[in-house]
């Protein structure tokens, strides 16, 4: 450890660190644009210039290593003057189109202009003009005029995504960011450059011009695109998800998420294809019913079959809580042994960074709470065979479009009764006798367990009929808080969907059981008491970053690769 002094504060710092890193560890923020903790040092933005005693020139904090006895000043007159100049230089050619810029509100240049700039320019020359809409790849559009040439995107493409296609061309003030000839920025992680971009130069084709960032509420959750469970923020306005962005978690996804997770895992929540209320098939057609009718219908249906004629499929898309309550219903209340989970593993569709072949967010959790079958005679194949042979007449499916697999679909038509929890109309609901409208991951509280056996929280970002944003403790934007009835924001569609654990509890109670769960916290408390490996856990302990299960009790055979 080296003793250093930053702005008069004596600190212990690892001599391997640079000044900016050491300062950061001690909560001292040195302004910067081009430096990023996960990228190589470029040293070009000059924003992190600090004064180091005994060095003749100002030094860039991002590239200057800490040394014993080093005395650093980040805020004296000389440093402030240099910083003001850097800001002045940066703003000379910047279009200052904040009022129409997607980045406004979360823009480093904008923030620093307030914090570190003098607030006016002494130059009245014409700005350099450059192309405004350059398509760098299928998902990313560049505005060259906004670019401040920090090169973060270039380094990300090179060092993290390993698709080194970005480069600056031309010289001086004519420099522009481009892809190499005959290449496009198209890799599974390409959209991270949008988050990395400190200004509004790189924008998402999907989100471009959709919303001002301060009009959205952001909710801390996790991505459900694969077994990684990348930590994310869900951004909503008007009770609709507009974008997902990665949220830092060094144990899971660092600063990144994949493009599939970002674009492919939220649109169904907003979709018109959503199931808006429970439905019961009457004379060939699914008819909308209320919850009481749906639940009592399911209960009376189930009562008319023997337990050996009933099978259940939990879901690796549902939460630990949903699966736990489902297991209690199937194994405890109904008493069937035919309970399993359908795996969704895409062999080979994985990489070294984040993407996992298991495309479900909670396969480990489903196994951990005892839904996944450990015995081939009661597992998925046995259930399908049972349906084919007529031994199994009723199938209860949690949040999984199992009929997307044509092999399964052909078997399902043999059933007397197919009960399905679903978010949207799909192949399985077409065959279902009863469809129970389930809340998506973005509409409920709960936990998922990723492939690392890490239990992580999901939180509701979109309100259903049963939930109220304020009372439900939702993250709220200004619109959510203050929109008046005649504002066009703050409304948005609300569906009569419920989390699966609540639906299942209702059915169990209609069958005479006594599931006393009023809130999801109570389910988790029960789960943590009853399921050995969750012992001692609580939502408070899981927190924002999740917590790894310490025991090795989840049988490896149950965890999809």
């Amino acid at each position: 450890m080296a003793k250093i002094t930053i702005d008069g504060k004596e600190l212990d710092a690892d001599p391997k660190l640079t000044i900016i890193q050491a300062a950061r560890q001690h909560g001292i923020h040195i302004p910067h644009f081009c430096w990023h903790p996960k990228l190589s040092v470029s040293g070009n933005c000059r924003m992190c210039l600090v004064e180091v005693e005994k060095m003749p020139k100002l030094a860039i904090a991002c590239a200057t290593q800490v040394a014993e006895g080093m005395i650093v000043r980040t805020n004296n007159e000389r440093v402030i003057k240099a910083r003001n100049s850097v800001m002045e230089f940066l703003l000379i050619n910047h279009p200052l189109d904040c009022p129409i810029c997607d980045e406004a509100g979360e823009c480093k240049l904008q923030d620093y202009s307030y914090k570190y700039s003098v607030g006016y320019s002494r130059f009245d020359e014409n700005k350099v003009h450059k192309p405004k809409r350059v398509e760098l790849g299928p998902r990313i559009v560049l505005d060259d005029e906004r670019c401040i040439m920090c090169s973060r995107c270039i380094r990300f493409a090179d060092e993290i995504a390993h698709q080194p296609v970005l480069i600056f061309t031309e010289r001086g003030t004519h420099v522009v960011l481009r892809t190499f000839p005959h290449t496009v920025l198209d890799n599974p992680y390409s959209m991270n450059v949008i988050d990395l971009c400190p200004v509004g130069a790189l924008t998402s084709k999907d989100f471009r011009f959709k919303s001002r960032v301060w009009e959205m509420a952001n909710t801390e959750s996790i991505c459900t695109g694969c077994a990684r469970g990348c930590n994310i923020n869900i951004w909503t306005r008007n009770n609709e998800i507009l974008r997902l962005t990665p949220r830092l978690n060094e144990d899971v996804n660092s600063y990144w998420m994949c493009d599939h997770g970002r674009l492919g895992t939220f649109k169904f929540v907003n979709s018109d294809n959503r199931i808006k209320t429970p439905m019961i098939r009457k004379e060939e057609a699914l008819m909308e019913v209320n919850w009481d009718e749906a639940i009592s219908q399911v209960a009376s249906d189930l009562r008319s079959y023997k337990k050996s004629e009933i099978a259940g499929l939990g879901s690796a898309y549902a939460t630990n809580e949903d699966n736990y309550v489902f297991r209690r219903l199937m194994k405890g209340v109904i008493g069937t042994k035919f309970v399993d989970v359908v795996p969704h593993v895409k062999e080979g569709d994985e990489d070294q960074l984040l993407i996992r072949a298991d495309k479900t967010p909670n396969a480990v959790g489903a196994a951990a709470v005892g839904v996944t079958s450990v015995d081939a005679s009661t597992g998925l194949e046995a259930i399908l065979n049972g349906i084919s042979s007529g031994a199994i007449k009723v199938l209860y499916v949690l949040e999984d479009n199992i009929a997307a697999d044509p092999r399964v679909a052909s078997v399902l038509s043999e059933l007397d009764l197919l009960i399905v929890h679903s978010y949207e109309h799909n192949e399985t609901t077409k065959l279902a006798s009863v469809v129970l409208s389930a809340s998506t991951y973005a509409e409920k509280n709960g936990t998922m367990t990723n492939f690392q056996r890490r239990v992580q929280r999901i939180r509701p970002a979109v309100a259903t009929l049963e939930a109220d944003r304020a009372l439900g403790g939702f993250s709220m934007s200004r619109w959510d808080k203050f929109a008046s009835p005649n504002d066009r924001w703050g409304k948005g569609p609300r569906r009569d969907a419920r989390p699966s654990w609540r639906i299942v509890s209702g059915i169990a109670n209609a069958l005479g059981a006594k599931f006393k769960y009023n809130a999801v916290e109570e389910v988790f408390k029960d789960l943590a008491e009853k399921v050995e490996i969750f012992k001692g856990l609580s939502y408070a302990k899981i927190g924002n970053r999740g917590i790894a299960l310490t025991t090795e009790n989840v049988p490896t055979s149950l965890i999809p690769a």
Partner: protein, 549 residues
């Protein structure tokens, strides 16, 4: 090839040359080639053939003879006669009159007793004008490669480094870092592979020292690099040469081929255990690639942008490996130092600046050309004795050294000794050796504007102060030169210069304001004369500066 073989070859070559009654050397460097030395050489050769003098008389191309403004130059080596402004007709006369009839062609004679010749001390340029620049035999005849042989056979690498350190040689690229110290750092750095890089990306306007050395004596540079490779433990060398020097590249390629063929480069050099290869890398026209970190990026095939230092190339250079980078002229000094010893070298020059320095004289000066002078020589002597003063009827005003990174030195500092420290006291730098003389017709604001436009155009755009600052310094200079500026703009100009200097990433940006600062320091009046009084001028709305050329 062994040391003995080399000495034998050397003697044989000297013998061969001495058997010739006449050696006629024509300048084959780019300057003279551009004014027709090809035709001159053809005429010389034709006449030699016509008079059947091939046996006793040879005509060979040689390196820069110095007086570039008076080319093409032809030298008759046997009686040390130099002819200038030679054309086809006078070339024929040289053979017919001088060689055949022993009557010198007086109309084209150059006075070789003038201070231009007598005040020079030649180490780097010792072979230019003496040997055939395309012949390895002639280089060996002039003791070539004996220093390499001495190093690899008789000296330890540490001994070589110590010798260079003791010589006091400092980097001739301009910054003046001790060459021996740099070699020591690279030799001590850890790496599976080390590299030696020769910076031949000479880009300063008006500078052509390195080009002349490469064109005139390429083997000298290769030998210096090989000795450096031996000293620091490198097995691969690169010469990074700008594409604008096709002749230098051609001669280098030839020289590498010749040296490899004779076992002076490649594996087991001079039958020792030392292996060293040299390859050429050609630049793509960016001035910034003369900056060492940008140069290395360019060799790696990347965009030539500078990187922050540390880490210095001597620790993490080419492909992350320890890399020694020296300039052409620095390498050209190595062989003589090893051959003659550090004491010999350190006797030349001043206390802190040893040896000689090559300068390219240009601008409003009578003797435009290439010179080599001992360090510490007064500027006055260079400009007035060697350079012959300014052109007819004008008065000396300033000398610009160090190219776009340097500054202008006014008449009152003409007695300044030319060494690294003295030049920096007046706000200039030694630089790589460009020396542009300005007379009373030069307008200093225009001079500053010229250099600033150069820096603006050549800024790589990586860091913001240089990218934007140079453009706006240029804009302000333009405004001043068009008499549209006020005192406020002067304040802004000076502040801008200081900020670009203070905050830029690489040496280029940090030194870009120097031409402005130094002209402001010595010629502020010329700026102020162009200013508008604040009360009467209110500026034009809209476009103020015109950035288009």
């Amino acid at each position: 090839m062994t040391l003995e073989d080399l000495q034998e070859l050397s003697e044989k070559e000297q013998q061969r040359q001495s058997e010739k009654k006449h050696r006629i050397l024509y300048c084959s460097a780019a300057g003279c080639v551009s004014c027709g030395s090809d035709k001159v050489s053809a005429a010389l050769k034709a006449k030699v053939k016509e008079h059947a003098l091939e046996k006793e008389c040879e005509v060979v191309g040689t390196g820069c003879l110095g007086l570039c403004g008076e080319g093409p130059l032809v030298k008759v080596q046997s009686d040390n006669t130099l002819y200038q402004n030679v054309d086809v007709r006078s070339a024929e006369q040289i053979i017919e009159s001088h060689i055949v009839n022993n009557k010198k062609v007086t109309s084209k004679l150059t006075d070789t007793s003038s201070p231009f010749f007598s005040s020079q001390t030649k180490i780097v340029l010792e072979n230019c004008g003496e040997i055939n620049s395309e012949s390895i035999d002639e280089y060996i005849g002039a003791h070539g490669y004996q220093a390499l042989a001495k190093a690899v056979n008789e000296m330890q690498p540490s001994g070589v480094i110590e010798e260079i350190r003791k010589s006091g040689l400092r980097g001739r690229g301009g910054a003046g870092y001790s060459t021996g110290l740099k070699w020591g750092i690279v030799s001590k750095a850890h790496g599976d592979q080390k590299y030696v890089v020769c910076n031949a990306d000479e880009g300063d306007p008006g500078a052509f020292m390195d080009r002349s050395v490469l064109e005139g004596d390429p083997h000298r540079v290769l030998e210096g690099m090989a000795i450096a490779g031996y000293a620091v433990g490198a097995t691969q060398g690169y010469v990074y040469c700008r594409a604008e020097y096709p002749l230098a590249i051609e001669r280098l390629k030839l020289a590498i081929k010749q040296a490899e063929k004779m076992g002076l480069l490649g594996n087991r050099i001079l039958e020792s255990q030392f292996n060293f290869r040299i390859d050429i890398r050609i630049g793509a026209g960016a001035f910034v690639c003369g900056e060492e970190t940008a140069l290395l990026q360019s060799i790696e095939g990347k965009r030539g942008n500078p990187k922050p230092r540390p880490p210095y190339p001597s620790e993490k250079g080419l492909w992350g490996m320890p890399t020694l980078i020296n300039n052409v002229e620095s390498f050209a000094n190595i062989a003589p130092i090893i051959r003659n010893g550090s004491d010999w070298f350190s006797k030349i020059g001043t206390e802190k600046s040893k040896g000689t320095k090559v300068f390219a004289l240009a601008g409003n000066i009578r003797n435009t050309g290439l010179i080599e002078v001992p360090m510490g020589i007064p500027l006055r002597k260079i400009i007035f004795d060697i350079g012959g003063g300014t052109t007819e009827g004008t008065e000396f005003k300033a000398a610009q050294t160090g190219g776009p990174s340097g500054g202008c030195i006014p008449a009152e500092h003409l007695d300044l000794p030319v060494d690294y420290e003295s030049l920096s006291t007046v706000g200039s730098i030694m630089g790589s050796g460009g020396l542009i003389v300005m007379d009373s017709t030069s307008k200093m604001v225009e001079v500053a504007k010229f250099f600033m436009q150069f820096c603006m155009d050549e800024s790589c755009g990586k860091c913001i102060p240089c990218r934007v600052g140079t453009r706006h310094i240029y804009g302000l200079l333009d405004k001043i030169s068009k008499k549209k500026a006020t005192q406020d703009d002067m304040v802004l100009l000076e502040e801008l210069c200081m900020m670009v200097k203070e905050t830029s990433l690489c040496g280029l940006g940090q030194s870009a304001p120097n031409p402005v600062l130094s002209t402001l320091r010595f010629f502020r009046k010329e700026y102020e004369e162009l200013l508008q009084p604040v009360e009467t001028y209110h500026g034009e709305p809209g476009v103020v500066a015109d950035f288009e050329k």
